[in-house]
Amino acid sequence: MRPFTYERPTDARTAVSAVSRSGAKFISGGTNLLDLMKLDIEHPSHLIDISRLPMRDIEELPDGGLRIGAQAVNSDVAADDRVRTRYPVLSQALVSGASGQLRNKASTGGNLLQRTRCPYFYDTAAGCNKRDPGSGCSAIGGFNRIHAVLGASDACIATHPSDMAVAMTALEAEIELLDAEGSVRRVVITDFYRLPGDTPHLETVLRPGELITGVILPPPPPGRQLYRKVRDRASYEFALVSVAAVVSTERGMISEARVAFGGVAHKPWRSFEAEAALIGRPAEMATYRDAARAAMRDAVGQGHNDFKIELARRTLCRTLAQAARSS
């Protein structure tokens, strides 16, 4: 690991002014950043430890929503009674990710910003536009079983690995950001992440020096919430495909629906196409199949990952059927 200097500010304002220094980076739980620093994929020269900033609380909002502090760790968010009862899809997504040990460290802000698990991104001997812009994409034409089928580009076909962010996408969460001038802005999660385009090294709209201070959950949408994750082993494994769904039915008809996929794109993938195919239709398998077809209409396989398109369709159908049955 390359040398770096270390500081631990005690308030968020000091943290954002410290990060303006060249080569500086925030460290929170460290479970992704340190992994990447050991492999020389990230090499900050200065680390600003934000893990003790007073941003750990989960607070009620007047409109019935919740505000999750950026430092709240994944296991605390998953175990919070308000999250479990009002946003169960978020608890389910969190406990499906990583391991008990990692969830005790992984922060809400760090989870949002974790980097892809593309093996070529991790292999400094391989060309990778995300790690080293302009060096090519080794996954196109290479081993691409875990890669994207939606929204990919000729420059990058990586996926975003977070489970938490998929549930937050279905819940229409907003990310709260603080900059060095002290101004706060909020970005809806679907606008927070970018598609790879020609600049896969840019993954979010976070501006240099901005700190994530929290995540706002709007009041829970009506209906039953469900997260389903499909992976190569039963636990402690990233998703091949996952679905976060919220379905509300009235007299057998779907009145409201939210659908987000994980493991299929450079960002958690909200499928407005699937939602449009569900709303106002009977809660039955034929409807779910139409929604699944609509969701994957523009999907393109890369060879090894072709199976993901059918897997995503089937996972969506099964998740919707289970959610509608109990809503």
């Binding site: 270390y6 050991k38 175990a79 608890s91 040990q101």
Partner: protein
Amino acid sequence: MSEPDTGGGERQAGAAPLSAVELRVNDQVRRLELDPRTSLLDALREHLRLSGTKKGCDHGQCGACTVLVNGRRINSCLTLAVMHEGDEVVTIEGLGAPDDLHPMQRAFVECDGFQCGYCTPGQICSAVGMLAEVRAGSPSHATAEVASSRISLTDEEIRERMSGNICRCAAYPNIVAAIRGIAEGGAA
């Protein structure tokens, strides 16, 4: 297995200045001067000579390095020692000694919960942390209804909650038996 980043005081060219850190390890205050790159795992093994905690992958993928920090289990390989100023760290050496085993250690011995033993300190620290999580009502991926705070610690729950600890000898059935015994006995 990778080398310690900053083993036994050896300094690399261009290294950052040393940082002072005070940890409370197994009930003792330990003051260290460390290269900021030192992981908590390397601080324990290389600087404090507490080699019970093991380095398997050094990347958060195996759980061999599991210790308890402020009562919660974490992977000590993916955190910096300097980030733990003032923290309470418990390693396998702090849980019990050969002549005074912790109930979880005794259960692993009695149930034959290991073969080579390399993953065992991490398994035991993890199991102790895991049972505290269960007592606090934390849900897991094996919990059918996350909203319900009543958890029945089935084998499926134990396996899911312990999935962050890999055992290359595949002693899993006996590890589960050891933990189940302790959970049912109410100790640990």
